[in-house]
Each structure stands twice: as structure tokens, then as C-alpha cells.
């Protein structure tokens, strides 16, 4: 009897979690358009999330393009199709690999950071103190962070994609004697709006998911300092899973609307 009960309790817990996150998201949408607006805090969060992640994203993107090109080259060389490298790498990075990898990196850095920060504030009763003092902690802490991640992640992904393509171009330039101009000509020949627009729209959802899950886990943190660690860890795990679900849905929708072939 323990097995089925265990499954039942886990299922109830899962659906409760989904329901709570949905309520959390609905509360966000209610608060985001209602004044007062915390612009200063929003800018501070944008700086923390965007600028402070830039180096990590650039390094990751550069290595991503570099390694992807190095690993693909021998296979393409077997077919005598080295000239396809720019188009293959650009489409792969812009359409799928760039957004997903960079979102996962940001989920690790930003999601865990938000979870830990809000969790600490919750266990040290700072959020309760804000409520007592008349400040809306949801608007000040949650809305600003979710908006900041939603706005900053697309920019981080665009920059990360560009750096990844630069890394790929560098490998092609050094190994295949392909000029940077030729490489980017090939890239823009291969790319279409049906590649770049869905990826950009998708990245907004990625940013929203990272901010939402990180804030939810931190905002409802309990069990003291242990709970902070759990909130931080759960934020990363849940966000990563949610990113893949969003990616799947995005690919499915893109396939319907943009007729990707």
C-alpha cells in the first residue's frame, strides 16, 4: 500500500506545485501593470541579471561555437561539404543550440541566485518585515526580477549567438582559410526570418520561466538555511526542465506557423 500512496502523494504534490506556480504567475500579471512601478529596482535587477551574466554568456558562447565547429568539421570533410559549415553552424546556433544552452547557463546562474536571495530574505523574515512596513514585497522583489529576466535573456542570447558565430568563424578562418567576410556572407545567406524570429520570441519565454521559477522557489522558501539551499537547487532543476518543455512547445508552434523544412 505504501507504493501507491507514495505515488499519489507525489502526484498531489506535483499538481499542487503546478497550481501554486500558476497562481504565482497570475499574481505577477496582475501586479506588473498596476502602479506603483519600481523602475529603479528594475534597472538594478537588469544590471545584475544582464551585465553580470554577460561575461559568462560570452565565454560560453565563444566556446560553444568553437567546439561545435571543431567537432563538425571532420564529419563535413568526409562528405567534402566544408563549405556548408557556416550555414550549418549558424542555423543550429541561432535556431536551437544558442538559446537553449545560454538559457540553461542563465538558469544556473540567475535562477539559483534569485532563489537563494529571496529564500534568504524569506528565512530571515525580511519579506515579512517589508509587508509589515507597507511595502509590497511581491511587486518590489518578484515583479522586478521576472521582468528583468524576461527582458535581459533575449539580449544575452543575441550576444551569445553572435559570439558563438565569431568563435566558429575563427576556427574556419584558422583551419579552413575562410575569411570572416565570406563566413558571415554564408551565415546571412543561410539564415532566414523563420530562424531568428521564433528563436527570439522563445528566448522571452525562457527569461520569464527562469525569473518565475527562481522567484517562486525563493519567495516560498522554508526550513531555514537548509531551505535556502533547497530553493536554490530546485530553482535550477525546475527551470531547466521547464526550459526544455518550452523549447519543445516553441519548436512545435514554429513548425506550424513558419513551415520550417
Amino acid at each position: 500500500m505504501k507504493g501507491p500512496e507514495n505515488i499519489r502523494s507525489r502526484a498531489v504534490s506535483f499538481f499542487t506545485e503546478i497550481g501554486e506556480i500558476s497562481y504565482f504567475a497570475l499574481r505577477f500579471f496582475r501586479e506588473v501593470f498596476r502602479p506603483p512601478f519600481e523602475f529603479r529596482e528594475l534597472i538594478r535587477q537588469c544590471y545584475n541579471i544582464g551585465n553580470r551574466s554577460l561575461l559568462l554568456v560570452c565565454v560560453t558562447g565563444f566556446i560553444l561555437g568553437l567546439v561545435f565547429t571543431l567537432q563538425s568539421r571532420p564529419t563535413l570533410m568526409e562528405f567534402g561539404a566544408e563549405s556548408w559549415m557556416p550555414s550549418m553552424v549558424s542555423i543550429s546556433i541561432v535556431r536551437e543550440i544558442g538559446p537553449v544552452i545560454i538559457a540553461l547557463i542563465c538558469a544556473g546562474r540567475i535562477g539559483s541566485g534569485i532563489g537563494a536571495e529571496l529564500g534568504s530574505m524569506r528565512v530571515t523574515e525580511q519579506i515579512d518585515a517589508m509587508e509589515v512596513s507597507g511595502t509590497n514585497p511581491f511587486k518590489y522583489l518578484v515583479v522586478t526580477r521576472i521582468v528583468a529576466t524576461t527582458l535581459m535573456l533575449p539580449l544575452l542570447i543575441v550576444i551569445g549567438d553572435t559570439v558563438a558565430l565569431l568563435g566558429s568563424a575563427m576556427v574556419e578562418n584558422l583551419k579552413g582559410a575562410v575569411s570572416y567576410q565570406l563566413y558571415f556572407n554564408e551565415v546571412f545567406d543561410a539564415l532566414k526570418y523563420s530562424d531568428i524570429v521564433p528563436a527570439t520570441i522563445k528566448s522571452f519565454f525562457f527569461g520569464f520561466a527562469i525569473g518565475l521559477v527562481g522567484c517562486y522557489k525563493g519567495y516560498y522558501c522554508s526550513k531555514g538555511t537548509v531551505g535556502v539551499g533547497e530553493a536554490s537547487n530546485a530553482a535550477v532543476v525546475y527551470t531547466s526542465m521547464l526550459l526544455f518543455v518550452i523549447d519543445f512547445i516553441a519548436v512545435f508552434v514554429t513548425d506550424i506557423f513558419f513551415e520550417v523544412q
Binding site: P154, T162, F188
Partner: protein, 333 residues
């Protein structure tokens, strides 16, 4: 406060950088698809577009000049492909240009090649339809290859039969390969042929020398070869000669017949020549005729002096003299 301003500046730079990159990428991609420049619309009709898609490149003499805008099917098999062509390049494309569907490399994406044609024609304008030419597709090539393969299989089978026969010593080729005596004979024949060929070459060389030595300008040969009037005359002479030759042949045949008859002892001439008794009789007859003639002359002279016929002879003399006088008078006048 100082830190907040610096943060704002850095954030501003970050946002501008990200936005610029995104907008630039969108611009370059749109520019590649001729969405921002001035374009004209061009159409062409095909029966098979071989997987052509919207946005595929259009090339003119190998230069990217536009993209495929629309692919519409009209009727059962006509497909109208509409293209965006850069306006500055469109001035150089004439109305007699031909559109074909090709691929970018062996396995690359499909594209439209516009090929210039010779001859003068005005440049295209927006809405024009140019001629199309459907190349042989991969399926056609593969079906041809299939037939070729079948033929190759039949050929291989026949070759196998032939080689088996050769190995088993059947047939002429087998003899050529296996019989050493025949091979030697063949070798000798080849050597002889080579000598004959060498001799023929020498003869031709000498003949060429003779021909080169002929003065075609001044000689009879030159006249015969170059003067058409003389040629016609010569032709007539040859025709006459042929006719004469025919007549001579006929006469010769008749003579031959006469001679044969003579030899056979037939005919009067043969009697004259060969019969001695006949000749003696003829001689005696001739002598008798001569004597009779003399006697007749004497009789005639006697008749002139006879009174019965004297008047008649005088009358004949007078008529004769009168005729002479008349002729003299005519001459004097």
C-alpha cells in the same frame, strides 16, 4: 549614487549592444532576401519546379539578383514562379532571357538561373514573363541509367559467353589467340601489308609529283580542266566517237559475215574469184561483145549512108548546130 549611474551606463551599453546586434541580424537577413531594396516582379512558367521553395535565390549569369516570391499552380501542370529581382540588375536582363531551375551544388538548395540569350531585346519591366527551360531532372537521369545498366548486364552476359568460347578454343578469335602458326602467318601478313602500304605511299608520292609537274595553266590538260566550252566540245567529240565506234562495229560485223560467206564459197563475188571456168567463159563473152560492138558500129555507119535513114541523121546534126548557136548568143548578151 555614483555606483548607480555607472550601473545605468553599463546597462544602457548592454541593452544597445544586444538590440543593435538583433536589428543588424534582421537587417542583413532581410537585405539578403531583397526585402529593403527596390525590386521588380518577374514571372516564369514551368511544368516542374523540382522542390523550389519560397525565398530560394535567383541568379543571373551566376550573380544573386533576387529571390523567389511566390509559386502558384495554374491548371493541371502549369506552375508560375514569381520572383523579386533587384531593380538595378533588372535593367541588364533582356526579355529574351531564359529561366531554368537548378541547384546550388550537387546537393544544395534549389535556385532559379536566368540565362542571357544572344540577340537584341528590350530590358524586362515589372510584371514581365520570361521563357523557361526545364532541364533533365535527377529522376530522368536515374531512369536513363537504369536502362544503361540493363544494357550493360546484357553486354556482360554476351561477353561472358564469348570469353568462355575463347577459353574453350572455339571460334576464330580463339584460334588467333591460341594457334601460334596462325599468329606467325598473321604477323608475316602484317609485315607484307606494311611493305605494300609503303609501296603504295611511294606510288602516291610519285603520282603527286607528276601531278604537281603538270602545267595546268598552259597545257591541254589545263584547257580541258578549266575551259568549259572546250570541255563541251571534247564531250561531243567523245559522243561522236562512241557513235562512230558503234557504226564501225556494225560494218565490221557485216564485213565479217561477207568474208565468212566468201570463205564458205557462197555468192557471185566468190564465183568471180574462185571459179576458173566461169572466168574463162566471162572472158570469151567479153571478147564476143567487143567484136559485136565493132560490127554494130560498121552497121551504123552504113545506115547513115543509106537513103532511107540519111534524112534523119542530117536533121539531128542541124538541131545540134542550132543549139550551139543559141548558147553562143546567150553568152554574148
Amino acid at each position: 549614487m555614483q555606483k548607480t549611474v555607472a550601473q545605468k551606463v553599463r546597462l544602457g551599453i548592454f541593452v544597445i549592444l544586444g538590440t543593435t546586434l538583433l536589428v543588424s541580424a534582421l537587417y542583413f537577413i532581410g537585405n539578403r532576401q531583397n526585402l529593403f531594396g527596390k525590386n521588380i516582379e518577374l514571372h516564369s512558367e514551368f511544368t516542374n519546379v523540382n522542390g523550389l521553395q519560397l525565398g530560394n535565390n535567383v541568379r543571373y549569369s551566376g550573380i544573386n539578383v533576387g529571390t523567389v516570391k511566390a509559386i502558384n499552380m495554374i491548371g493541371q501542370s502549369r506552375i508560375v514562379v514569381s520572383m523579386f529581382i533587384e531593380e538595378k540588375i533588372a535593367k541588364r536582363i533582356n526579355k529574351n532571357a531564359v529561366a531554368t531551375i537548378g541547384s546550388d551544388g550537387l546537393v544544395g538548395s534549389m535556385l532559379i538561373n536566368i540565362l542571357p540569350q544572344e540577340g537584341t531585346s528590350p530590358p524586362i519591366v515589372s510584371g514581365d514573363t520570361i521563357q523557361s527551360y526545364t532541364k533533365i531532372g535527377a529522376n530522368d537521369i536515374l531512369s536513363t541509367l537504369s536502362v544503361t545498366n540493363e544494357n550493360a548486364a546484357i553486354l556482360t552476359s554476351d561477353l561472358l559467353k564469348i570469353t568462355t568460347k575463347i577459353i574453350e578454343g572455339e571460334g576464330t578469335i580463339s584460334m588467333l589467340i591460341n594457334d601460334t602458326t596462325m599468329a606467325e602467318n598473321l604477323k608475316l601478313s602484317v609485315i607484307e601489308l606494311r611493305r605494300a602500304s609503303s609501296g603504295a605511299n611511294e606510288a602516291i608520292r610519285q603520282l603527286n609529283g607528276i601531278i604537281a609537274g603538270i602545267d595546268f595553266d598552259e597545257s591541254v590538260a589545263g584547257v580541258l580542266l578549266n575551259d568549259s566550252v572546250s570541255g563541251e566540245k571534247v564531250k561531243k567529240i567523245i559522243t561522236d566517237l562512241e557513235s562512230s565506234s558503234g557504226n564501225i562495229e556494225m560494218v565490221s560485223a557485216q564485213l565479217d559475215e561477207y568474208v565468212s560467206e566468201m570463205r564458205a564459197g557462197e555468192g557471185a563475188v566468190n564465183k568471180l574469184i574462185n571459179d576458173e571456168v566461169f572466168a574463162q567463159n566471162l572472158d570469151t563473152t567479153l571478147l564476143n561483145l567487143k567484136e559485136a560492138t565493132n560490127r554494130l558500129n560498121t552497121n551504123m555507119e552504113a545506115l547513115k549512108h543509106n537513103f532511107l535513114f540519111r534524112g534523119y541523121f542530117r536533121k539531128l546534126e542541124r538541131q545540134k548546130k542550132k543549139a550551139e548557136r543559141d548558147s553562143l548568143k546567150k553568152l554574148k548578151k
